[in-house]
Point group: C2
Amino acid sequence: MQVNSRRTQAERNAATRTALLAAARCAFADKGFAAAGTEDIAAAAGASRGALYHHFADKTALLDAVVAEIAVEISVAVEAEADAATSPLAALKRGAHAFLREALRPDRRRVYLIDAPAALGWSRWRAIDAASGMGGLRAGVAAAHPRADAEAVTVLISGALNEAALLLAEHSHGADLAARVEAAIDALIDGLFEAER
Amino acid sequence: MQVNSRRTQAERNAATRTALLAAARCAFADKGFAAAGTEDIAAAAGASRGALYHHFADKTALLDAVVAEIAVEISVAVEAEADAATSPLAALKRGAHAFLREALRPDRRRVYLIDAPAALGWSRWRAIDAASGMGGLRAGVAAAHPRADAEAVTVLISGALNEAALLLAEHSHGADLAARVEAAIDALIDGLFEAER
DNA sequence: CATGATACATACTGTATGTTTGTTTTTGTA
DNA sequence: TACAAAAACAAACATACAGTATGTATCATG
């Protein structure tokens, strides 16, 4: 089909890069980072392993890019939800619910919540979503409770949400559990910021 | 040195098995699960790869055993601390602090909190510490707040504690942060169970 | 239009896992 | 006690995958 012929180099570059990213994201979500082979990823992207290693330093650099992509997607959805709230406390709750919905998606949860910390290292993983997603959470915490220890509280909420998303992912059948978890999250947030109301 | 000669088979079995477990635990903690080679592990245990694969089905089975070991260790320490408390709420707080201290240790945190969910799968990881560690947390939650949704609340607290341990592990210099995180955890627990006091 | 740079493709190498086959030692039994 | 069966281990083999090095085609540029 020669989709890459008669194009400027920037276009070719972007085209194969995005194709590789999409294929990698699919493979990582489907089989996990370790079990996904670069051969299959390149083939699914309609490219060769050489192209892959031209665009990315190694396999973990590819994961890094995929994770950053996911982090931004989640962040955008969460921010949109939080901005629609009237109070800082409501913004936190709505944002938390949105995070659950977004992080739960099968094309995201394993890559973002499980494989990323292991393959990239926890500190790198943390830096990625501090640059996109969790920055918003931290700001929300500070807004809802100016005297709180924003760093510590943010980490606790973030960890609780991550674990909740993984639990819900396992029990995909049962909106009942989802509702109970959301209620518990509201109770957690309310409790943390009750002194400030 | 022929430490394994002139012994009963059960003794030989136990000796090499524990040696393999110890070596694997050290290697996993030091280099991570993926980067630790079975060759090095077997050598450190004074055995061959053949022995390793005689005792464990594959590399992940070895990790599984190490993780289970760690889970029990943490559970014992947490239970001891919780049992020394006078009220259910105090038991939760003391148990949480103990969990932080125990899970934080360099020979545990990476294996237990990072590599285990990725390599064993989240559900298997959850099953392991539900059988040992988290069973106690859930009982503590139920004791402190009989009307609470024990499953949901337990997951949130567990996730918050895991993430807090990883944060503290990164900033090992600074007992200041540790104190702030512990205070935030107390606030979280107090807030969650305030309605019950 | 010629030269260089960029984007890719192919072939190769090293390493690590898991398997298979073989050897030694123990254990049950005739 | 002799022998057979099974366990515990050792070593060689096969396979697969990541990363690299080299080669080629396409585009940019003076």
